[in-house]
């Protein structure tokens, strides 16, 4: 029988950063075991496991993890969906519960990235003798990335922000740098962040330029990390003990979208339309409106991306993202605090872990367990991730009595 309400019973994220002595499975196991313990359940209770590890997508991280923490014979879904991999894993477990296939499920996302270079852009195989031969769907005779625009992540997301500025005005290099300044400032309160150092505007603007207007501190920080969540049906939750019920967080909306056809999405991935559609579906599913949100963790893979998502998520009126940011709304003491964790720019971005880590952050505020960076009285929050290709996950989470 199909069910509607699904809750997060337990959740955990590892410290983000460098973990030279831990492999992917160690990190996934640490997050999974701690999420199970946080929920007061064990692997034996799980009816489904969904796991994501983008860089090792062919290796079956789900089964590797089971060998370390419990081979109970349950179905495993190994998912890969670019930077939305973690959100996709969570959504897979949520769907299994909604479909009535099980009562409890575990979602895990893990990545080891420390030391990895910038993502995106592929080369071509080299042969001994170099003779031009049209190759691939563009019939190209040599590398086109870098010669016909750019396919690298910093370049794509830089253009996304510049396009917004062209359309609506006011989006200067300094404005984007100030968004980054906010996130680096927020990260000083997050002991699990890869970087928790405050940075001045001058430091940010004067740092190494990667793809104008994004300097290095305005780009997501590659790092190692894992996050995991245990989800439970509302029916099952009612049978659990009062502490488990009190700390459970309601998944009021769980949405995944892809890029619908738009004229320009053929040459520059459109991260806007799919986010707008995911947000509007999430608000409709949950009955929550953007004004109700006490905090938002959104996919600031680059400072330029954060600006457009204020607009895409409906946090401000259409075209008003610049004045919305300038009003101070997205600082932690503002009307709609955004990325109080430090965001991907300073908390870090271990790709497949990010989608669940964003939810971890929101859950901790809703449970009043966020320590020094607690947003007082938070009862509803939104977590957003995007993966180029493109996929977008939006989850609305609420503190509610089970």
């Amino acid at each position: 029988m199909a069910r509607d309400d699904v809750w997060i019973l337990g959740i955990h994220m590892t410290k983000f950063g460098k973990h030279p002595n831990l492999d992917t499975v160690d990190l996934a196991a640490e997050a999974a075991l701690a999420a199970l313990a946080d929920g007061g359940v064990s692997m034996k209770d799980m009816g489904v496991l969904a796991a994501g590890n983008l860089m090792g997508a062919a290796n079956g991280i789900g089964q590797q993890l089971q060998k370390q923490i419990g081979q109970t014979g349950i179905p495993v879904y190994n998912v890969a969906n670019a930077c939305a991999t973690g959100a996709t894993a969570l959504r897979t477990a949520v769907m299994a519960i909604k479909a009535g296939e099980c009562e409890l499920g575990l979602a895990v996302g893990v990545e080891k990235l420390a030391g990895a270079g910038l993502l995106g852009g592929g080369g071509r195989p080299k042969s001994d003798r170099n003779v031009y031969e049209p190759h691939g769907r563009y019939g190209s005779v040599a590398t086109i990335d870098g010669r016909v625009g750019t396919e690298t992540m910093p370049g794509v997301f830089a253009q996304v922000g510049m396009e917004y500025g062209h359309k609506h005005g006011g989006a200067t290099f300094e404005l984007f740098a100030r968004i980054s300044e906010k996130n680096h400032s927020h990260s000083t309160l997050n002991p699990l962040a890869a970087y928790s150092k405050k940075m001045t505007l001058d430091q940010i603007m004067g740092d190494v330029m990667i793809a104008y207007p994004n300097t290095r501190p305005m780009c997501s920080a590659n790092c190692d990390g894992a996050a995991a969540a245990v989800v439970v049906s509302g029916e099952k939750l009612k049978t659990l003990d009062p502490t488990q019920r009190r700390r459970a967080v309601k998944v009021s909306a769980s949405v995944l979208t892809t890029d619908p056809w738009e004229e320009a999405c053929q040459v520059l991935p459109d991260v806007n339309t799919l986010t707008r559609q995911a947000a509007s579906q999430a608000y409709e599913q949950s009955g929550v409106s953007p004004e109700d949100l006490d905090l938002v963790e959104l996919h600031d893979c680059f400072a330029t991306a954060e600006l457009v998502h204020y607009d895409n998520l409906g946090l401000c009126a259409e075209g008003e993202a610049v004045p919305f940011f300038e009003s101070g709304a997205t600082w932690r003491d503002g009307r709609t605090p955004v990325n109080v964790s430090g965001g991907l720019e300073s908390k870090g971005h271990p790709i497949a872990a990010t989608g669940i880590a964003n939810i971890w952050e929101v859950c901790h505020h809703l449970r009043e367990e966020a320590g020094d960076r607690q947003i007082e009285g938070a009862t509803v929050g939104l977590a957003h991730v995007i993966g180029l290709g493109s996929a977008c996950g939006v989850h609305v989470l609420e503190r509610a009595a089970a």
């Binding site: 049209p134 563009y138 005779v141 870098g146 016909v148 625009g149 750019t150 830089a158 253009q159």
Partner: protein
């Protein structure tokens, strides 16, 4: 002069080099690569459509970190050519935010990317500013 070959098939060389898209015969959606069917309407009929060689710069970035062999910095951009979006570098300009402006008018220009072992030259394209920036 040796033989020339376009860097990508959708660049048409000759007297007046221009870009050419695969246009969906049902809905008019344009694609620069080969398609099995139209991503917009599902149609499977395509014909060639020439693209305007002048356009307006709608988005750009100045890329300072790129794959080996690609000279940096370069200006990557999206250009609106009469309603069709084109991905291309902005060339024949100084790659800095003083010389490259959103909304500026640009036109198609070609250049030789390199030659292979048979001496065949690959011709690439970019868009160059139509007017000098103010004060230049």
């Amino acid at each position: 002069m040796g033989r020339q070959i376009p860097l990508v098939e959708y660049l048409v060389l000759g007297e007046e080099p221009h870009l050419e898209a695969n246009e969906c015969s049902s809905c008019g959606a344009r694609y620069f690569d080969r398609r099995n069917a139209c991503a917009s309407c599902g149609g499977t009929g395509f014909h060639k459509a020439p693209i305007d060689s002048e356009g307006v710069l709608r988005a750009f970035t100045i890329v300072s970190m790129a794959a080996p062999g690609i000279p940096v910095p370069f200006v990557a951009s999206v250009i609106d050519c009469g309603g069709t979006s084109v991905r291309a570098n902005v060339i024949n300009t100084t790659p800095d935010p003083e010389h490259v402006k959103l909304g500026m008018k640009v036109r198609l220009a070609t250049y030789v990317v390199g030659a292979d072992d048979d001496g065949t030259e690959a011709v690439g394209f970019g868009f160059e500013p139509l007017e000098e920036p103010d004060g230049a």
